[in-house]
Amino acid sequence: MRPIEAPPTFQGWKRPSGALGIRRHFLVIPSVVCAAQAARTAAEGAPGAVAIEHQHGCAQLGGDAHLTEQVLAGLGTHPNVAGTLVVSLGCETVQGAALHRSIAGRGQRAEFVGIQQSGGTIAAIAAGRQALERLRNGAASDLEVTLTWADLRVGIEAAWLGIPPAQARVFSEVIDRLLRAGATVMQAVSAGRDGPDPRWQQSARGSAGVVPRDATALPYAMPPAGRGAFFMEAPRSRIAQKTGLAAAGAHIILSPLVEGLPAGCPVAPVVHVGIAPHARPFAGDVDVMLDELPSAGAAEAVVAALGRACLEETALEALGDFEMAIHRIAPTM
C-alpha cells in the first residue's frame, strides 16, 4: 500500500461552541411534525437555510420522545451548522422551547419561534425569517480555519458489511486509511435480534493494517467522546443510520449503495459508493462506482471522494435533496 501523501486540508469554520465544521448551514428544526410546514416556508429563499422534516415530536412515549429530542439536539448542534432555528407548535411532547434551550446550552447559536405563541403560522414564518437573518449576521464572525482529517468524523453506513469480500475489502481499506490519517470513524452496525451484526467483527478481523477491532460501542445518535474508531448501534433503515450518524456529529457520511436509491442528509454531505451490479443504473448519480472486481486504486478513490465532499458541494446537496428518519423505540400513541 502506498503511503498517504501530504495530508489534504479543508476549509472550515470554528463555531462559537468550539466545534469545527466544513459547511455553513442554518438549520431550521421543527420540534414536531405539525411545525414542519412553517419551518420549511421560513427557510425558503433564506441563504444557507436547510429545513429538516420528520414525522415525530408528538404522541411519543417517554424514552422514545427522549431519543427524538436527542437526535434533534444532535443535529442542531452539529459542527457543520452555523446556527439553528427551532420552530415549535407549543403543545407537543418534544417541547420546542426545551429543545432550543438544550441546543443553546451546548454553545450553539440558536433561535426559537413558537407557532401558538406567535399567533399562527404566518406570524411564525415572518418571525422565523427574521431569526434566520440574525443567525446569519451572527455567523459572519465565525473564524475561518484550516482543517485536516484529524479534525473530522466520518460516518459509514452498515450496508457494506454484507457485500462480497472483494468489494468489502475496499471499505476496510478506506477505514484503515482514514484512521491512519487521524480521522475519527463511526461505523453504523445494524443490530439483529441477538445484538450487533456479527459481520462487523468478521470484517474488522479480516482487514489489514489498523484494525478497528477495539472500536468503542456508541448508542444510536450519541456523539463519541474523543477520537478514534467507534461502532454505532443502528437500525436497518439506511436513512435512520444517516440521521443517527449525523446526530452524532459525522462531518461526512459514506454510503454504500447496495440497494435502494441514493439519498442525502440535511447537515452532512453524503458520498455514495455504488456497489455493482445493483448500483449500475446510478453510475451518473454516485461519486464512485465499485466494480464486482474493484481496481487497485479503489480505496484511494473513495477517500479522495470524501475529501472532495469536504471541499465542495455535492450534486445531491446542490439539488437540495436529503432524507431524514429518526429511529423509533416505541409506537405512536
Binding site: 411534525v33 405539525c34 414542519a36 410546514q37 412553517a38 422534516e53 420528520h54 414525522q55 408528538c58 404522541a59 411519543q60 412515549l61 417517554g62 424514552g63 420522545a65 407548535l89 407549543g90 403543545c91 407537543e92 411532547t93 417541547q95 407557532i115 401558538q116 399567533g119 399562527g120 403560522t121 404566518i122 406570524a123 439483529g192 437500525p235 436497518r236 433503515s237 439506511r238 436513512i239 435512520a240 440497494e259 435502494g260 436509491l261 441514493p262 439519498a263 442525502g264 445493483h278 443504473p281 446510478f282 453510475a283 451518473g284 448519480d285 445531491l316 439539488l319 435533496d321 436529503f322 432524507e323 431524514m324 428518519a325 429518526i326 423509533r328 416505541a330 409506537p331 405512536t332 400513541m333
Partner: protein
C-alpha cells in the same frame, strides 16, 4: 340540500381533483419532489423504508395506506415513484381499485435524472386526464367525513367536539359516513361507545382496539402521560387520558356505531364507524383519508395548522382566544357557544354547512397555506406479538 356537486370516479365521489405524486419508499422522495416541482401536481414525502425485519402486518398496513391514499376519489390520477420493480404490485392494487395511476421505477429508468424525465412525461399525461373532470350532482350521502381533534384543551369536549358531533349526526342521517378515530383518545370512554354499537360483535371490537392500545403502553412500561395527554393538553386543563377521551368521543355524535375498521381500511357501508388509529394527528388523518375520507373537520383548543395534501381539512377552534390569535389557521370558532351567540345546535349546523360548502370547492385555510402533512402509522403490536409467540 340533498345533492351537492362532486367529481364522479369509478370508485366513488371526490371533493377535489388532485393529481398526486407519491414516493413508495422514503428514498424516492427526492425524485417525487423534482417531478412535481413547478407543476399543479401535489407530492407528499414520508420516512418509510422497507427492511427485511418488517412484520408482515406492517407491510400490509403500509401498502394499503399508500394504495388507499392514491386511490382516494379526491385524486384524479396518481404517479407512484418506486426504487425497484417489486413495488409494481402496488400499482396493480391501485389500478384494481379503479384509479388512474402510473409508475416510475428509478433503477429501471436509469438513475435520478432519467427517472425525473420519465416521471414528468407520465405526469403530463395524468394532468391532462384530470383537466377534463367536471363536478356533477351527487347525493350528500356520498360524503365520508373524517373527524379529528388535536391540540385539545378542556373546552374541546364542551364546545367544538359536541358541535362537530351534531354535524356528524346530520351527515349520518343524510346517508353519509363519519369516521371517529384516535383509539388512544377513546380510552376511558369506550363503554359509552359500546352501548351504541350496532351489534354485540361491534361492541366487542370497540373494547378490543382500546385494550390493545393499553396493552402496548403497559408492555413498554412507560407512563402514557406526556405522550397523551400531551403537555399542551395538560396546560389547557386536561388532566388524564380518560378526561380527554370523554371529550374526544363527542366528535362522533350520537348515532349507532356500524363498524370498527382497522387503520386505512374503507368502511363497508355508510354510517358512523370507528377506525383504529393512533392519536398522532398526522398518522390519524392519513389513515382516514386512505380509508376514503374526502373531507375532514379538525377541532383544536391550543391551535394547530395541519391539513392533508388531498383532502380539505376544516379547523374549528374550541375557544375564541385561539380562534382570534390563530385566525390565519382557523376556519370556524366554536368558542361562540361560550359567548352565548351560538348554541351547540346552531354551531353544529354551521359546521355541517361548512362541510357541504368545502366539499363543493370552498377552500380551507390549511389548503390555502399548502399544508400536506403525511405520515404512515406503523403496526404497533410487535411487543404483543412477541409476548404471544413466547407463550
Amino acid at each position: 340540500m340533498d345533492e351537492i356537486l362532486l367529481y364522479r370516479r369509478d370508485r366513488g365521489w371526490g371533493t377535489r381533483n388532485h393529481v398526486l405524486v407519491l414516493p413508495l419508499v422514503a428514498s424516492a422522495s427526492g425524485v417525487a419532489r423534482a417531478i412535481a416541482r413547478g407543476t399543479e401536481a401535489i407530492w407528499v414525502g414520508h420516512d418509510y423504508e422497507p427492511t427485511p425485519e418488517d412484520l408482515p402486518q406492517n407491510r400490509e398496513r403500509i401498502a394499503r395506506t399508500l394504495a388507499g391514499f392514491a386511490a382516494n376519489p379526491n385524486v384524479a390520477g396518481a404517479l407512484l415513484i418506486a426504487d425497484t420493480p417489486e413495488r409494481s404490485a402496488l400499482l396493480d392494487r391501485i389500478r384494481a381499485a379503479g384509479q388512474r395511476a402510473d409508475l416510475v421505477v428509478v433503477t429501471e429508468a436509469g438513475g435520478f435524472r432519467a427517472a425525473v424525465e420519465q416521471g414528468r412525461e407520465r405526469l403530463t399525461a395524468l394532468l391532462s386526464g384530470a383537466a377534463a373532470a367536471r363536478r356533477e350532482r351527487a347525493p350528500v350521502g356520498a360524503l365520508v367525513l373524517g373527524t379529528e381533534c388535536g391540540g385539545s384543551d378542556a373546552l374541546s369536549g364542551i364546545t367544538a367536539n359536541p358541535a362537530l358531533g351534531a354535524a356528524s349526526d346530520h351527515l349520518v342521517d343524510a346517508g353519509g359516513t363519519v369516521m371517529l378515530a384516535e383509539t388512544t383518545e377513546l380510552i376511558g370512554a369506550e363503554h359509552l361507545l359500546a352501548r351504541r354499537a350496532a351489534s354485540p360483535q361491534v361492541a366487542e371490537e370497540i373494547y378490543t382496539i382500546i385494550h390493545r392500545y393499553e396493552a402496548v403502553v403497559r408492555a413498554h412500561g412507560e407512563d402514557i402521560r406526556g405522550a397523551n395527554p400531551a403537555p399542551g393538553n395538560i396546560e389547557g386543563g386536561l388532566t388524564t387520558i380518560e378526561e380527554k377521551s370523554l371529550g374526544a368521543a363527542k366528535k362522533g355524535g350520537t348515532r349507532t356505531i356500524r363498524q370498527v375498521v382497522e387503520y386505512a381500511v374503507r368502511p363497508a357501508a355508510p354510517g358512523l364507524v370507528i377506525m383504529d388509529t393512533p392519536g398522532h394527528d398526522i398518522e390519524q388523518m392519513v389513515g382516514m383519508v386512505a380509508g376514503g375520507a374526502q373531507v375532514a373537520v379538525f377541532t383544536t383548543g391550543r391551535g394547530t395548522p395541519t391539513g392533508s395534501a388531498i383532502a380539505p381539512v376544516i379547523k374549528v377552534a374550541t375557544n375564541s382566544h385561539t380562534a382570534s390569535r390563530m385566525q390565519d389557521n382557523i376556519d370556524l370558532n366554536a368558542g361562540l357557544i361560550l359567548e352565548g351567540t351560538e348554541t351547540l345546535e346552531t354551531m353544529g349546523r354551521r359546521i355541517y354547512e361548512a362541510i357541504l360548502a368545502v366539499a363543493q370547492g370552498e377552500t380551507t385555510k390549511a389548503e390555502r397555506l399548502g399544508h400536506r402533512e403525511f405520515s404512515i402509522s406503523r403496526y404497533p403490536f410487535a411487543v404483543l406479538d412477541a409476548a404471544a409467540a413466547a407463550g
